[in-house]
């Protein structure tokens, strides 16, 4: 029994002097196909399975893992984790301590509406062919589509987390993800390109919701239109409607990441960076009353779904910014201990060989009550940026840039000409302070968020409605 082996690891760790020990069985089983222009390049299958051990010894944190799941090897890795943690304890400025937390003892399984086995292999392969045929032949008129690629991936994550504080959490979570790339070319107007990702927890029921092939057709049509008809954005400051796809990424980058307590404390300083939020900034204003950003792991079907984190703490919605105020940080038990609060269950590991670190789950801007037409109303000259390709943000999460892909001029309250490569380059405070209307339709987008050393990619959703910003000067990408 895996549970017996995990318990054995905890007992060995306690015998060897660990003040805290945690053992996690973690299996990620995936399979899928990658295609180009409708033809399969290859099929792939990956299984990662093993046990990760984390110990706290004299205030020093140690981690070790093994994929040989037997007593002998488990004892070895526990010994390694403890001896190396102990050796570094004398270098610590301050011992690490874990906070009290609401630790769970539970099992949960996400049951797909449509199991992966409900679609034949041939049908899964035919998705690739149909995508290419419909996108390449029916969607563009003057331009050509030299390449589309499509990657289909179904995967299941299985975990058992136990620790010396009494946690027992067993979970099985299946996920589906699809990524595509469309390149559109026109001899005189050059190339345009779109990467799109879909991802969710559950099964094949998501295929229908995503309308994959229709999405590809629409994107290809849009790319051609941008290439052939795209004009420059206005040079002067104008109202900008930021589409939900961009808003979603913005709240992930400029609220979720800077609210990670480990980043605030400098633990990621040499990698993903620090945060403009300092430990004493809870309660300070970052935006106006529309700036409410929530991170909630418990949204059913979400790509970042979980009910207990990898330290066994019960998950709940976290209100990171609330009506413009910096309200709550994302915590694991170590950072919660430093801040004197309870962990809000943000610890996640990518696989058995990774330490659990603070991660977002599903981060979104709280929707308002405007319809899209109401957002447009009254704008004499403005811009609507619907989608993006290029983006980045500085390592304090303050200065950020998003380059619009599908974007339109707004004239007298209506969308008119497409705009090519408008640039929204804005500080975090300026974004959250310049929102003057928020749409009512909340939409989510899938991503793989990278953080840690070695870098760990974990599934997340980010979401938001369309929002309207007051007067903003846009740039243009070359």
């Amino acid at each position: 029994m895996l549970e017996d082996l995990l318990l054995y690891a905890l007992n060995v760790a306690s015998e060897l002097g660990a003040g805290y020990a945690e053992a996690r069985y973690h299996k990620v089983d995936s399979m899928g196909f990658m295609s180009r222009n409708g033809v399969l390049i290859s099929a792939f299958s990956e299984v990662s399975e093993g046990i990760g051990i984390r110990v706290l010894v004299e205030g020093s944190l140690g981690f070790a893992s093994t994929n040989i799941i037997d007593k002998e090897n488990i004892r070895k890795v526990v010994e390694i984790a403890i001896s190396r943690a102990r050796a570094h304890a004398k270098l610590l400025k301050k011992p690490i301590e874990f906070s009290e937390a609401r630790l769970g003892r539970a099992r949960y399984i996400v049951v797909p509406v449509k199991d992966f086995a409900n679609l034949s292999l041939e049908d899964k392969v035919s998705i690739h062919r149909e995508f290419w045929e419909r996108v390449s032949k029916g969607s563009v008129r003057e331009a050509k589509i030299p390449v589309t690629t499509l990657s289909y991936n179904e995967w299941t994550e299985e975990k058992i987390v136990m620790n010396t504080d009494g946690t027992f959490i067993s979970s099985i979570v299946p996920r589906l993800s699809i990524h595509y790339n469309i390149v559109v070319h026109h001899p005189q107007r050059g190339y345009a390109q779109r990467f799109e990702s879909f991802g969710a927890t559950g099964g094949l029921e998501w295929l229908e919701r995503w309308r994959l092939i229709e999405s590809g057709e629409e994107e290809a049509k849009t790319l051609e239109k941008v290439l052939l008809e795209g004009v420059e954005p206005p040079r002067d400051p104008v109202p900008v409607i930021v589409g939900s796809e961009i808003v979603a990424l913005m709240v992930h980058e400029s609220c979720g990441h800077p609210s990670e307590a480990d980043r605030i404390l400098g633990r990621e300083a040499a990698q993903a960076g620090k945060s403009f939020i300092k430990p004493n900034m809870l309660g300070q204003r970052i935006g106006n009353e529309y700036a409410t950003v929530i991170d909630d792991p418990t949204i059913p079907g979400s790509y970042g779904f979980y009910l207990y984190d990898d330290e066994g703490v019960a998950a709940r919605a976290r209100y990171l910014y609330k009506e413009g105020i910096i309200n709550e940080f994302l915590h694991n038990r170590a950072t919660a201990g430093i801040f004197g609060v309870e962990s809000n269950a943000a610890a996640r590991a990518m696989d058995y060989a990774s330490e659990p670190i603070i991660r977002m789950a599903n981060t979104y801007l709280k929707p308002g009550n405007y319809s899209f037409e109401e957002l447009l109303e009254g704008i004499k000259l403005g811009v609507y940026m619907k989608s993006y390709m290029e983006w980045n943000i500085d390592d304090e999460r303050w200065s950020q840039r998003y380059v619009g892909l599908e974007s339109y001029l707004i004239e007298n309250g209506e969308l008119t000409k497409p705009i090519r490569n408008p640039v929204l380059e804005i500080t975090t405070k300026a974004f959250y302070s310049n929102i003057d209307a928020v749409g009512k339709e909340l939409r989510f987008y899938a991503g793989t968020c990278g953080k840690g050393e070695p870098s760990q990619g974990v599934p997340v959703w980010f979401g938001g409605p369309d929002v309207r910003l007051k007067s903003i000067r846009l740039g243009i990408a070359l």
């Binding site: 990658m34 180009r36 033809v39 399969l40 390049i41 290859s42 099929a43 792939f44 299958s45 990956e46 299984v47 990662s48 944190l61 140690g62 070790a64 093994t66 994929n67 040989i68 190396r84 943690a85 570094h88 270098l91 400025k93 301050k94 292999l121 390449v147 790339n181 390149v183 070319h185 050059g190 190339y191 390109q193 404390l265 400098g266 633990r267 300083a269 040499a270 993903a272 060989a353 390709m389 290029e390 983006w391 980045n392 500085d394 390592d395 200065s399 840039r401 380059v403 640039v423 380059e425 804005i426 500080t427 300026a430 050393e453 070695p454 903003i472 000067r473 740039g475 990408a477 070359l478």
Partner: protein
């Protein structure tokens, strides 16, 4: 996995052939490493790994399957392989299929291990450091149905350090090697610390077009994208600025020559054989500004009617180690050539609007300096490079004479890169 040895792997490959596959390759990688992560000048965690990773390449009737496992034993793999057999005739033929090639030969380096970098960093008057130090051992065994049975062992030392100096200074540098070289690690710490101290009291500048000196860290980050786009598979899949080019095309300044060097044993990604068992060779990717070759495995080579460059990846050819041919200038000489420009020591978050056009931006990070009339005038902050990768390559005006070993969180491919001066780069910043 306790049964890793040449005989067992070879036997396993033979068993797969008997099951009916036309081509089989098995790559077993053993990694044993320790990583110490440092934050606020203190150890935040010590991580240890001993992993045995098995990658399998299977082809049947021109259908391709790539499998990745971390099994207890070869026996554990049987059920997975059996499930692939049942799929084999139900998926479609791969357009890039080519039979596995004949194998080649092996070379080794000595094992090394090390620590001692925090102390070196603290010799400068800085507030705190953060970073990572990793030492490890790596062993690769490759067996193929063509008779390849190859083994290679190596060690690696990697580290990077970010130093902070009050009130707002920061500097970052890195080092990578296959052998223990304390001077390289100490130099890393000194450089990060010096840039931290020198970049205190930053001010803002206006966006616009500047001549820019890129540090080896920044140049390596951009070259990571560029050389990955030189993979023939990136071109085939529409993820490459070289979609518009053929070997022989001018793609860069004539001052720029860069080579893929799998046989350079100073850098951790050296390989004597690629994943198809072909003996590797050092090769010019760009010579005097001219694109000499894309990076190929036998599949992409057949697809493009050329020969492999021994950069397999069973599906995706990969760069091994990238080395830029040095020029003759010192950093001071480069600075003295700039009338109005910038010196960017580090960057991160490079993203592209369009891979085919090479349209990108990247955030300048840590020490950035404004240069006027050949002199560094002041440290600046909050800017990004926003241009086309093709422009960066073509506008290289001076190449530095010293190469630095670069590999860190934002540069995965080990590189030896110099400081370079690039003319007329577009610099952007937030407008509000």
């Amino acid at each position: 996995m306790s049964d890793v040895n040449l005989d067992n792997i070879s036997r396993f490959v033979n068993e797969l052939i008997k099951k009916g596959f036309d081509d089989v390759a098995a790559k077993v990688e053993v990694v044993d490493s320790v990583m110490t992560k440092i934050a606020n000048s203190s150890v935040s965690i010590v991580q240890n790994w001993k992993r045995t990773i098995v990658d399998l390449y299977l082809a049947k009737n021109r259908r391709i399957f790539v499998l990745h496992f971390e099994p207890k034993s070869f026996k554990d793999l049987q059920k997975h392989v059996d499930s692939v057999i049942s799929l084999a005739d139900r998926v479609t033929e791969s357009p890039i299929y080519a039979p596995l090639p004949e194998p080649s030969k092996v070379r080794y380096v000595e094992e090394v291990i090390d620590k001692r970098v925090i102390e070196a960093a603290h010799r400068e008057n800085i507030e705190s450091v953060a970073g990572m130090m990793q030492v490890g051992y790596n062993e690769i065994i490759l067996s193929s149905s063509k008779g390849a049975l190859l083994e290679e062992k190596k060690t690696f030392v990697q580290g990077y350090l970010r130093a902070f100096a009050q009130p707002d200074g920061s500097g970052q540098w890195c080092y990578t090697s296959t052998t223990l070289d304390l001077s390289g690690l100490e130099s890393m710490a000194f450089t990060a610390s010096r840039y931290a101290v020198d970049s205190r009291n930053r001010s803002e500048i206006e966006p616009g077009v500047y001549d820019v000196i890129l540090s080896p860290m920044v140049f390596a980050n951009l070259l990571e994208y560029i050389t990955s786009m030189a993979s023939a598979m990136s071109v085939i899949m529409g993820w490459s600025m070289f979609m518009k080019n053929r070997p022989g095309d001018v793609v860069a300044s004539q001052l720029l020559t860069l080579q893929d060097e799998p046989r350079n044993t100073e850098l951790p990604n050296f390989r004597s054989f690629d994943d198809e068992g072909v003996e590797t060779c050092n090769k010019l990717v760009i010579e005097g500004g001219v694109l000499r070759t894309l990076l190929h495995n036998t599949k992409t080579a057949k697809y493009m009617n050329t020969t492999t460059t021994a950069n397999a990846g069973w599906i995706n050819p990969v760069p091994w180690n990238i080395v830029v041919r040095p020029g003759s200038a010192t950093l001071d000489e480069m600075v003295s050539e700039v009338r109005r420009g910038l010196f960017i020591t580090n960057n991160w978050y490079t993203r592209l609007q369009n891979y085919v056009e090479g349209m990108f931006s990247t955030v300048a990070r840590d020490a950035i300096f404004y240069i006027e009339n050949g002199k560094i005038v002041k440290p600046v902050t909050k800017i990004r490079i926003a241009d086309k990768l093709g422009n960066i390559l073509k506008n290289v005006a001076i190449v530095g004479r010293e190469l630095y070993n670069i590999q860190w969180w934002e540069v995965g491919i080990p590189m030896k890169t110099p400081y370079i001066l690039v003319k007329s780069i577009n610099i952007s910043k937030h407008t509000i």
